[in-house]
């Protein structure tokens, strides 16, 4: 179906390289692609290039089956979305970021896809594979994050230890914790993880 592509507002450049780009087009739209480049994956994101001047690397591991999504569009309540298809929305908090986002775990097939989507969502983060350990870093200030989640029993666990499907089923919410705070978090599915209020 033909789509009239949205207008891009004049880009504003500020001293210090802070670019704020509000575009009205869909991320990865046909004509003018957003400056951040490339198509986004499954993640619901606001098409704002937030934060740093570092290039945001967008990697999509599989071809999107559905279109790139805009936050809150179409205007269907998540309550309704959850009821109809297999949806599992969980909240994701990142230490230091002002607000939470929600992700639908059902649309990812693996940890790699999930972490990539998180990369997209919290634009300043990148995943580095260091010695086979997946770490998430904020390249701009060198802060390392450890991806954790709260399971059904209320325990906080490291992401990646249990098989993917088991994780999807038991995950209640996620938190990218600063490495410095993650000391003491049990690496395996022990009965008591570090409890975070």
């Amino acid at each position: 179906m033909p789509m009239e592509n949205g207008k891009n507002l004049p880009e504003s450049e500020y001293p210090g390289g802070l670019k704020t780009e509000l575009t009205l087009g869909l991320p990865g739209g046909e004509a003018a692609a957003p400056k951040s480049g490339g198509k986004r994956g499954f993640s619901e994101t606001v098409d704002l290039n937030l934060g740093t001047s570092a290039e945001v690397e967008v990697s999509v591991s599989t071809a999107p089956q559905s279109k790139a999504q805009i936050v809150g569009w179409p205007p269907v309540r998540s309550y309704r979305k959850n009821m109809i298809k297999n949806c599992k929305y969980v909240k994701v908090a990142v230490d230091g970021a002002p607000y939470l986002r929600k992700v639908d775990l059902e649309i990812y097939a693996s940890y790699q896809e999930l972490l990539t989507a998180l990369e997209d969502m919290f634009g300043c983060l990148t995943i580095c594979n260091v010695l086979n350990e997946r770490k998430i870093m904020d390249q701009a200030n060198g802060t390392e994050y450890v991806p954790t989640y709260e399971d059904r029993d209320g325990d906080w666990m490291l992401i990646g230890d249990v098989p993917w499907k088991m994780f999807v089923e038991s995950c209640k919410r996620m938190r990218l914790m600063k490495s410095s705070e993650a000391i003491g978090l049990a690496p395996k599915t022990s009965s008591k993880g570090l409890s975070i209020s």
């Binding site: 033909p2 500020y14 009205l24 805009i70 936050v71 009821m83 607000y99």
Partner: protein
């Protein structure tokens, strides 16, 4: 006048006034009427919890029995308002627990309700009867247990579409054995299984039960047990509508339904097995309201069901019904007033069902009473909208969502301006409108010119310039709520129509082009508005004044600035000081350059402000009916 009616007589007369509008009018007649009225007002509706404080409400209305209140802006439903934004009911509950010991009803929408709040409610109000939590969040099933256990005279517990942290189904068992007052129970949003025997016993001892909306976990085979114990039910929400296909289950179900001669409303229908739908046929002729919006069944099954419901007035359904199903609906249900068609696959790139503008046109042709529409589809044309407008000049609520933003008329590739223009021109009683598709400033001109009764307008990905917003703000006399996302509307229209904002409940603008400077100006010059900027990028004054804000929420208030703002919300008020980085950039008084160039508009603005100054008193009172 030396002699007038004694107070008791006036009070007796005022008792008969139930509408807030009437009571507000009465309060304005004279001081003594104001006094008498305020002592006998029992019901207060607060459309925006931040427009007033509990103290102000309590001071004016000391004898309130029923409170209805709304919190977050509507776009919170679509994740546009971040977590932690606010709208907590707890301060209200604490204030009322002291001031209104006889409070009976609390109805909340889009508010954050904690278990502490629920517990406090359950223990503070001896005669508490009605709790309706619509699209609320923040509580768990533990909070529900307090309500069940402590509210001896509970009549209604309705959790419609709330997000509840479901710890267990045990809460239901907290209803004491001597609780027999239940009239309405809606637990459809809960996931956990409740004890079925506890549910059965509760239903058995509630002779006045009229509404029962079960959750998905209640199995179909057990539904007859409940129906038999509540043949007086008027509204039923089933649990999952699926079971192994067995004739004994079917006949049991059919028999149970046939006993419920008063049933008017049906909902639920998760996981429908079509073979079980005929079990309901005996009640269909009496059904006026049918919510099949979770029923993932195909058009033929939907049609069979719906064509049995000749007296249907309200239908919510998924787009599986398709154009053909809507045609059948139009032929069978001549009393239809409200239709909502939801998308089964909103994010799919390709259409998965054959539902187009034709379905809506058929219904508009065939159903003379159709006045309320919510329709999700993938294509639309001006011709269709014009036809709908001509068919249904009695339309009151029209919400159309074309899934693709900025989709043009699929036949002509033109904007849908004329189509929506026809809607507002023909439907003179239109109170609510949501638009989508490709729209230019022209459609806003039509809206400003014709939509004189429009109270709520939702706009997304539309318009070309500030002129669009100006048309709406200057033309729509009855406008109360305006919500806008992703439109190229900026400072000019907003500032030129600043006074208009005090006549409205609220304005939401996200991903538009309103600058921080304009927000500050608005906040400084309009003390009775709260101008709030929501921005994830840190304090707005760490960026240039010309930088657009992410989200803006403006609302009128007598409460002053919020005291509970989270870190990502900033209020623009008289105390806003400019930060050092902008020292060379002080705006003119009123930011004259930012205003529309025409002197006429400036004059209008000045006149409007003057009028407002005189209307201060009216504003204060009218805030109680927003």
């Amino acid at each position: 006048m030396a002699y007038s009616f004694p107070e008791e007589v006036l009070e007796h007369v005022f008792w008969f006034l139930s509408s807030d509008k009437d009571r507000n009018a009465v309060s304005l007649v004279c001081k003594s009427w104001y006094e008498i009225e305020r002592w006998c007002r029992r019901r207060v509706f607060i459309g925006n919890c931040y427009s007033v404080t509990p103290e102000i409400v309590i001071r004016r209305f000391p004898e309130v029995r029923e409170l209805e209140m709304k919190g977050k802006p509507h776009f919170a439903d679509f994740n546009l308002v971040p977590e932690g934004w606010g709208a907590c009911v707890y301060p209200w509950v604490t204030a009322m627990s002291a001031a209104y010991p006889f409070l009976e009803e609390i109805k909340l929408k889009r508010m954050v309700v904690t278990d502490e709040s629920l517990e406090l409610i359950s223990k503070s109000f001896r005669n508490f009867k009605v709790l309706v939590l619509s699209s609320c969040e923040g509580f768990t099933t533990d909070g529900l247990a307090s309500i069940a256990a402590n509210c001896r005279n509970l009549r209604e517990l309705d959790l419609r579409e709330s997000e509840v942290e479901d710890l267990s189904g045990h809460w239901l068992s907290h209803f004491p054995d001597n609780c027999t007052s239940l009239v309405s129970l809606n637990m459809s949003c809960l996931g956990s299984e409740v004890s079925f025997s506890a549910l059965e016993r509760l239903v058995s001892r509630s002779p006045n039960l009229r509404t029962l909306r079960l959750n998905r976990a209640v199995p179909l085979e057990k539904l007859p047990n409940l129906l038999r114990r509540a043949p007086q039910l008027v509204e039923l929400g089933t649990g999952a509508y699926s079971a192994e296909i067995r004739s004994d289950i079917f006949s049991n179900l059919a028999e149970a339904f046939s006993v419920c001669k008063q049933l008017k409303g049906l909902s639920g229908f998760w996981d429908v097995v079509p073979a079980y739908l005929p079990a309901m046929y005996s009640v269909c002729s009496g059904i006026t309201s049918l919510n099949l919006s979770y029923a993932t069944i195909q058009s033929p099954d939907l049609v069979k069901l719906v064509s049995q419901c000749r007296n249907l007035q309200c239908l919510w359904v998924l787009d599986y019904i398709e154009d053909s199903g809507l045609e059948a609906l139009a032929a069978s249900c001549k009393d239809l007033q409200e239709l909502r068609v939801f998308p089964s696959d909103p994010f799919g790139a390709e259409p998965n069902v054959s539902l187009t503008e034709r379905g809506l046109v058929s219904v508009s042709e065939g159903c003379p009473k159709l006045q309320s529409v919510l329709y999700f589809c993938r294509q639309m044309s001006n011709a269709a909208l014009i036809a709908i407008a001509r068919n249904r000049p009695n339309m009151v609520r029209f919400r159309l969502c074309i899934l693709e933003p900025r989709a043009p008329d699929y036949l002509t590739l033109e904007p849908l301006d004329t189509g929506f223009g026809a809607i507002v021109e023909n439907c003179k009683e239109l109170r609510r409108l949501s638009m989508s598709g490709l729209l230019t400033d022209r459609v806003f001109k039509y809206i400003g010119t014709h939509a004189k009764k429009l109270e709520m307008l939702s706009i997304a990905f539309a318009g070309d310039s500030d002129l669009g917003l100006h048309h709406v703000l200057s033309g729509c006399e009855s406008l109360r709520k305006l919500e806008i996302r992703d439109c190229p509307f900026g400072d000019k229209a907003l500032l030129a129509n600043a006074a208009k904002l005090e006549t409205m409940r609220s304005l939401w603008m996200s991903s538009c082009s309103v600058s921080f400077g304009a927000c500050k100006l608005l906040g400084q010059k309009m003390p009775r508005l709260n101008v709030e900027v929501i921005d994830e990028r840190g304090p707005p004054d760490s960026r240039p004044e010309s930088c657009p804000v992410e989200r803006l929420y403006v609302y009128r208030t007598v409460a002053g600035r919020r005291v509970d703002m989270p870190g990502f919300v900033w209020t623009m008020d008289e105390d806003s000081t400019l930060s050092a980085s902008e020292s060379g950039n002080k705006p003119n008084v009123w930011g004259l350059r930012a205003l529309m160039p025409s002197i006429l508009h400036l004059a209008e603005l000045i006149v409007a402000i003057n009028i407002l100054m005189n209307k201060e008193a009216k504003l204060l009172f009218s805030l109680f009916h927003v």
